[in-house]
Symmetry: C2
Subunit: 191 residues, 2 copies
Amino acid sequence: MRRSKRDRQQLLLETIHDTPFITDEELADRFDVSIQTIRLDRLELSIPELRERIRSVAQASLEDEVRSLPPEEIIGDIIDLELDRSAISIFEVKREHVFRRNQIARGHHLFAQANSLAVAVIDDELALTAKADIRFTNQVMEGERVVAKARVSSVNPENGRTAVLVNSYVDNELVFSGEFEMYRSNQPEKG
Amino acid sequence: MRRSKRDRQQLLLETIHDTPFITDEELADRFDVSIQTIRLDRLELSIPELRERIRSVAQASLEDEVRSLPPEEIIGDIIDLELDRSAISIFEVKREHVFRRNQIARGHHLFAQANSLAVAVIDDELALTAKADIRFTNQVMEGERVVAKARVSSVNPENGRTAVLVNSYVDNELVFSGEFEMYRSNQPEKG
């Protein structure tokens, strides 16, 4: 039995409050209604769409500011950042990111998200990728959201090279992992 | 002393015939005239611009046709292809491919060129990247042309995984190298 509209809208408010990054598709599934119904509910309740919700959470919650590049050059939306420690971004796979033939996301977009996160986490105005060792562990399809998590694992005191591990997930399933070795400009002077 | 226009145009014809991928900038340098002069010379001589020259050489000379993806999904222009053996592509680094701050090409574009070449060289309708080990060995700047050369180094008879080495150059200087391990669909059945 379906809920009344009133009940549904109340639940919708609570659900989005608790899990702000839920998509309209997931909400429709959960409440057993059409996506169109969810959109109308959101309109009536003045809840912005997912993309806007991510933006506002991102702006409100970032502890640090990206130094190594302007935010608009980052592939994906950064939702968490502690410079030289860790960072998280979300990337929505759209039609332009997939092979037309099979709707599988193209590797270079997953790489771009992870690589720009590895750049963004560096606490320096210059950060460049020296090398990377990457794995594509599961296919990502159009419409899916990729959550990339970067962690700075070491900074070489000799040359300032910084190792960043990035793991990317769709619904908690690992789809990509990469070890990036980054150059930076503020490396310590050598003896 | 500058050459007469007639001499210059004769030399221009010969130069472009011998080195069809030379840019207007390089021609202007070589003949010590402005780029605008080179463009006017090309117009008078009905020599198409570099991009068109690459296209026509590419169309005329490809021994094989790409199977794994439609040509318009390849990053860069493929100018040579022997399926399951080798491939070459050219990618021009434009403003949208560089960090605005320092005009250095962003890693994911070099990766995209190399990765799509590794996909394109596979003689199969399905080719996906399993993993890659990559190095960025020199910075590439806006306006430079990257020549990527892919070579299939092995096909695993057990699982059909295909190893592709890609080296990318600017003016014969190595700027990127990658080892890609590719999935394909026509892998031999296991015993």
